[in-house]
């Protein structure tokens, strides 16, 4: 049919843009109670007493429960699913019992007849706190005077992790001609999915069955954790449904307290229960992103060859370990520090420390933007200090296209790529040489124009389950896919992946339509309901196409094989003489296209079972569990031009050129949408976004009045190109497109701003690069006017 590779319009969009989508918050049930959670206003405090008397007395309040009630009622602690060696995992209850450890830590829950009464009653709960000292900064956690966030975790250090060959690294620095040193902060981000988190639960007393609706990226994982750890309802009596989900960016991967509290309350009061986060609650309870403090050094030869990299990072984990938190700054961060380059001498070490802040976990890119940011900042500074053009220094160090599969010194084996072609395409699309000439002219006129480059790598499509297990994951990272052909030839596709905006209902239908030779309109994609789909691992890490899509390819292959058997039998030909015509959706005898059976007729025959080959089961439904052989490695070249107002420090984005290699592309429109959205999100970190806690642990940017998200009007038109080097690891040859934009754009823009400021000898500023920060830096170096400086001049 040829759907794959074409920009088919998204089949899910009509319901989204017409307000017909069904989100958890839309669910209304007879007799439903509404929950509101009493949250700690302190970042760190001992809970001395909770008085719920007044709240309970308010008309319309059904019940009030505290953390102790949940504990007594059998709730288990929330587990951390990623356990690196010697990790110390703090105990985390759905409602805290002894201490509040961050602003927003849940203390009690009100159950009421409507959400207004619930909110009123929350204010009537009287908690007597004894405030304690607070620690916010990831690096200060180990200081002697730092308070312990958890009494049983000394020095607030949950784990440490390192990778690389220290001896090779040390040697690279001993033999280096030039060393670049940089201290940097990768600031805290708040995910801000459009739809706040929400949970509805319905306990049926007679059958002892629970249904939980939750805005999650992986409902099956939530079901497993609810069943095995937190709620302890047997899996076969527990159904978890994630209906339409309005974005997640990673923040809806994790198992959250409210997913425990809501079903627990439903069972306790024997009524359906509902909790929907307010935007303010989202800011202080959704797992946050990034927050690294890093000290890094890069070793180079004078010709620009990069020989070594030494990285020490303090990763702020927040007050508890969120579900996958230890994965992010370890196996998705240090492993990526080689970037696109051949260098051998890499050593990365990190400490995961606990603070009195909201827990930190995966946020779009998750570890990989942090790796790319520091690596590409260092490369840019090196280029400047060695007077080499930043494109040239990168190209010089690239892994060659003939070197794939390429084993990095950091465990990963890169699948495929052509970084030279990638940069050639980007520089020609941007007309890079002219950009530099124009920049020189602009500088002569006193203008602060900057050009930023980034070349980034990503490890996507997690992951081979055995590898995930060896790195600390308690589960596997395969994916499931069912192709169910109905008697009339219509198809239902069931996937363990989950779409929270990515458009799986379109792309998965494109894949299966092409595999079977049926029209897309005959295919329905079902996801998100554990009562319908097989066990699966959900969506994150740009894995749905490469892992989930491949599972569907495998199942479709099995369907084709079965149809060939049936057709051969009915046409009285040998199986090996049969041709499955995917363009026409029929099976015919080689050399005799007239002797054929159409798809729908074969499907029907499989169900009548009147005339099947001996030993073949009736029916037409296949399931596959696809475990990938490796990660995939998307890569990118982004080129940005910005200009700074020399008086105010304001940054204007003038051009944005992005060339990405995400492998084969199933739907170019969707991929471009992902790249564009990703770029905007990454630029948000470079210029605007920051989760800021004050010394007492109060979040100062907890509302959208202070937390600045990117807006469409802030961007020039994106100039997008791509190259395709198919990944050899999966049958679709795809690599994953969900995160590349975010990974690449943050550092590209940061590099552009620093390039603009280079003539003023401003070497580095931490993000976000706000006007005040830029202006203050310009003030410090003296007159805020451009000096004429030969930059990247060389010979």
């Amino acid at each position: 049919m040829g759907y794959v590779g074409s920009s088919v319009k998204r089949v899910e969009d009509p319901r989204f843009i017409q307000g017909k989508a069904s989100y958890v918050g839309n669910i209304i049930m007879p007799g439903m109670v509404h929950l509101a959670i009493k949250r700690s206003p302190y970042a760190h405090a001992k809970i001395k007493k909770i008085n719920t008397k007044k709240a309970k007395a308010l008309p319309g309040v059904v019940a009030v429960f505290t953390g102790q009630d949940l504990l007594d009622g059998g709730c288990g602690p929330l587990p951390c699913g990623w356990n690196v060696p010697d990790i110390k995992t703090p105990t985390r209850y759905a409602l805290t019992v002894d201490k509040a450890r961050h602003v927003g830590d849940g203390v009690a829950v009100v159950v009421a007849e409507d959400p207004y009464i619930a909110a009123d009653a929350v204010e009537l709960i009287d908690v007597s706190y004894q405030p304690l000292d607070v620690v916010i900064d990831a690096r200060k956690t180990t200081e002697l005077e730092a308070p312990l966030v958890h009494d049983d975790i000394s020095e607030n250090t949950s784990y440490e992790w390192a990778l690389g060959d220290k001896a090779v690294c040390d040697k690279a620095f001993e033999e280096a001609d030039h060393i670049v040193e940089l201290d940097l902060t990768n600031q805290r981000l708040i995910p801000n999915a459009m739809e706040p988190r929400a949970c509805v639960a319905q306990w049926t007393d007679t059958t002892e069955e629970m249904i939980v609706w939750t805005a999650s990226q992986n409902p099956q994982l939530i079901r497993l954790l609810l069943s095995a750890y937190t709620l302890l309802i047997p899996e076969h009596r527990l159904r978890v449904i994630s209906p339409d989900v309005g974005g997640g960016f990673g923040s809806k991967i994790f198992h959250y307290p409210e997913e425990v509290i809501t079903p627990w309350v439903s069972r306790a009061v024997n009524r359906p229960a509902k909790w929907v986060a307010t935007r303010s609650e989202a800011s202080i309870t959704d797992s946050q992103g990034r927050d690294h403090i890093t000290v890094a050094r890069m070793a180079l030869k004078k010709d620009g060859e990069i020989t070594g990299l030494h990285v020490s990072t303090w990763a702020n984990m927040g007050a508890y370990l969120s579900t996958l938190a230890p994965l992010i700054p370890t196996a998705l961060y240090i492993t990526l520090l080689a970037g696109l380059y051949r260098m051998k001498g890499i050593w990365g070490e990190m400490w995961g420390t606990l603070t009195n802040t909201v827990p930190v976990d995966a946020y779009r890119g998750a570890g990989r933007p942090e790796a790319s940011y520091l690596l590409e900042r260092l490369v840019d500074i090196a280029a400047h200090e060695l007077s080499i053009d930043p494109v040239e220094i990168r190209v010089k160090n690239f892994i060659g296209k003939d070197e794939f599969p390429y084993q990095t010194p950091l465990a990963f084996e890169y699948d495929s790529g052509d970084y030279h072609a990638l940069f050639e395409k980007a520089t020609s699309l941007a007309d890079y040489a002219k950009m530099r000439t124009d920049q020189t002219d602009a500088r002569d006129n006193g203008r602060l124009v900057g050009i930023g480059i980034s070349g980034c790598i990503e490890a996507s499509g997690p992951a081979p389950s055995a590898v995930a297990g060896s790195l600390g994951f308690a589960l596997g990272l395969w994916e499931s896919g069912v192709v169910r052909v109905h008697p009339t030839g219509k198809v239902t596709v069931l996937t363990g992946s989950h779409s929270h905006g990515q458009g799986h209902e379109t792309t998965f239908a494109q894949i299966v339509a092409d595999e079977l030779g049926v029209p897309m309109t005959d295919i329905e994609v079902v996801h998100g309901d554990s009562g319908r789909i097989p066990f699966g691992m959900g969506t994150y890490g740009s894995r749905s196409a490469s892992v989930g899509g491949s599972a569907l390819v495998k199942s479709a292959e099995k369907i084709r094989a079965k149809l060939i058997k049936i057709a051969a039998h009915q046409l009285e030909a040998a199986e090996e003489d049969m041709v499955y015509d995917r363009a026409e959706g029929k099976v015919y005898v080689k050399g005799s296209p007239d002797k054929s059976k159409p798809f729908a007729e074969l499907a029907f025959a499989s169900y009548t079972a009147h005339n099947l080959p001996e030993g073949l089961d009736p029916g037409l439904e296949e399931i596959s569990f696809y475990d990938p052989a490796n990660f995939t490695f998307p890569n990118s070249a982004h080129i940005v031009q910005i200009e700074i107002d020399p008086e105010t420090g304001e940054v204007e984005l003038q051009r944005y050129v992005a060339v990405d290699d995400v492998g084969n592309v199933i739907n170019p429109m969707i991929v471009e949408g992902q790249i564009q959205g990703g770029i905007a999100q990454g630029v948000g970190q470079a210029l605007w976004e920051q989760g800021v806690y004050d010394e007492s642990g109060q979040l100062l940017t907890g509302s959208l009045m202070e937390y600045a998200l990117p807006r469409a009007a802030s961007f020039p038109k994106f100039e997008i190109g791509r190259i395709e080097t198919p990944s050899p690891h999966n049958p679709l040859g795809v690599k994953g497109a969900g995160e590349m934009g975010t990974i690449a754009s943050t550092v590209a823009v940061a590099n552009a701003v620093m390039d603009a400021l280079a003539p003023l000898n401003i070497r580095h500023l931490d993000m976000p690069l706000t006007p005040d920060k830029i202006w203050s830096a310009m003030q410090k170096v003296g007159e805020a006017k451009t000096a004429k400086v030969e930059y990247f001049g060389g010979e």
């Binding site: 100062l700 998200l709 006007p771 005040d772």
Partner: protein, 290 residues
């Protein structure tokens, strides 16, 4: 985001609204609701009574005469932004209105609501100060006019007394040789003015005969920078004179506001830069105003 409970009235006449205000002690007036409702949802504000004046007839009129521009308290930002009459008589009003929030906010938000709320980072108060607006408030004893300079008392506090409704704002229409300009540094999250500067100037035979420079966002109450006006009046508006006037602003700002996004020092700096730019543009316009 659930507010505390409250009583709700929707009077049809101004008289009824004033009577309700008198009767209900901690009542709040609801016009566009774009400042009040978010505050109530966050439970920062929990008035026991809301008096919705949004449908009182006649309070949303724009009236332009040769000498005066009058806008009813319920005039929306969108109406001010798109009014052709205002674009002729006093274009800076539309310029300011168009910079407020986004289109949805401008469709609902009202000039009376903005002025009565007295957010230090709002746009209208600054412009009203520069234009020397009169603000009409109506109570049970009738109307009184308050000069803009007297109207803004403190953070979120105005000269409105209990039982009074802001019913009209009037500014002089622009005459030959007069010009005004409003510039703001927009907060990337809230869209409020981190600093907003409104400049009004009058030229006679190439010499500045009158000027008012108002600055919002930098201090708890929007302020008039008298020193800047003094530096201009009696002089031809050369680059040097304008720069000199702008420099006086830095000294005039005491205790500037500071937050995560912009320090007090940076706000002060922005005020000087924006003053120079606004003055330059205002003089350009003054030369064009026939």
């Amino acid at each position: 985001m659930y507010s505390a409970s409250f009583d709700y009235y929707r009077p049809k006449t101004l008289k009824d609204a004033i009577a309700l205000l008198k009767k209900n002690k901690d009542a709040k007036l609801l016009a566009g609701g774009h400042s009040l409702l978010p505050a109530m949802k966050l439970r920062v504000s929990s008035p026991s009574t809301l008096i919705d004046i949004g449908r009182i007839k006649g309070l949303d009129r724009i009236k332009v005469s040769k000498s005066t521009v009058r806008m009813g308290g319920l005039t929306t930002h969108a109406a001010v932004e798109s009014s052709k009459e205002l674009a002729k008589a006093c274009p800076v009003l539309g310029e300011c209105a168009g910079l407020i929030g986004d289109l949805q906010v401008r469709n609902r938000g009202t000039i009376g609501g903005s002025l009565a709320h007295a957010d230090p980072a709002a746009d209208y108060p600054t412009v009203m100060l520069a234009l020397g607006a009169d603000i009409t408030v109506t109570g049970s004893r009738g109307k009184r006019k308050v000069a803009a300079e007297k109207f803004f008392v403190d953070l979120f506090t105005t000269a409105l007394k209990r039982g009074e409704v802001l019913t009209e704002v009037s500014v002089p229409a622009m005459k030959t040789g007069q010009g005004a300009c409003y510039l703001k540094h927009r907060h990337p999250a809230s869209s409020y003015a981190v600093v907003g500067v409104a400049a009004y100037v009058s030229l006679k035979e190439g010499v500045c005969s009158d000027a008012t420079i108002a600055i919002g966002g930098a201090t708890t109450v929007p302020m008039v920078a008298d020193g800047a006006a003094d530096a201009l009046v009696g002089n031809a508006p050369t680059v040097k004179v304008i720069e000199g006037a702008a420099q006086t602003v830095a000294e005039a700002i005491e205790d500037p506001l500071g937050d995560v996004y912009a320090s007090g020092e940076y706000r002060t700096h922005l005020a000087t830069v924006l003053t120079r730019r606004a003055l330059t543009e205002a003089f350009k316009r003054a030369k064009r105003q026939k």
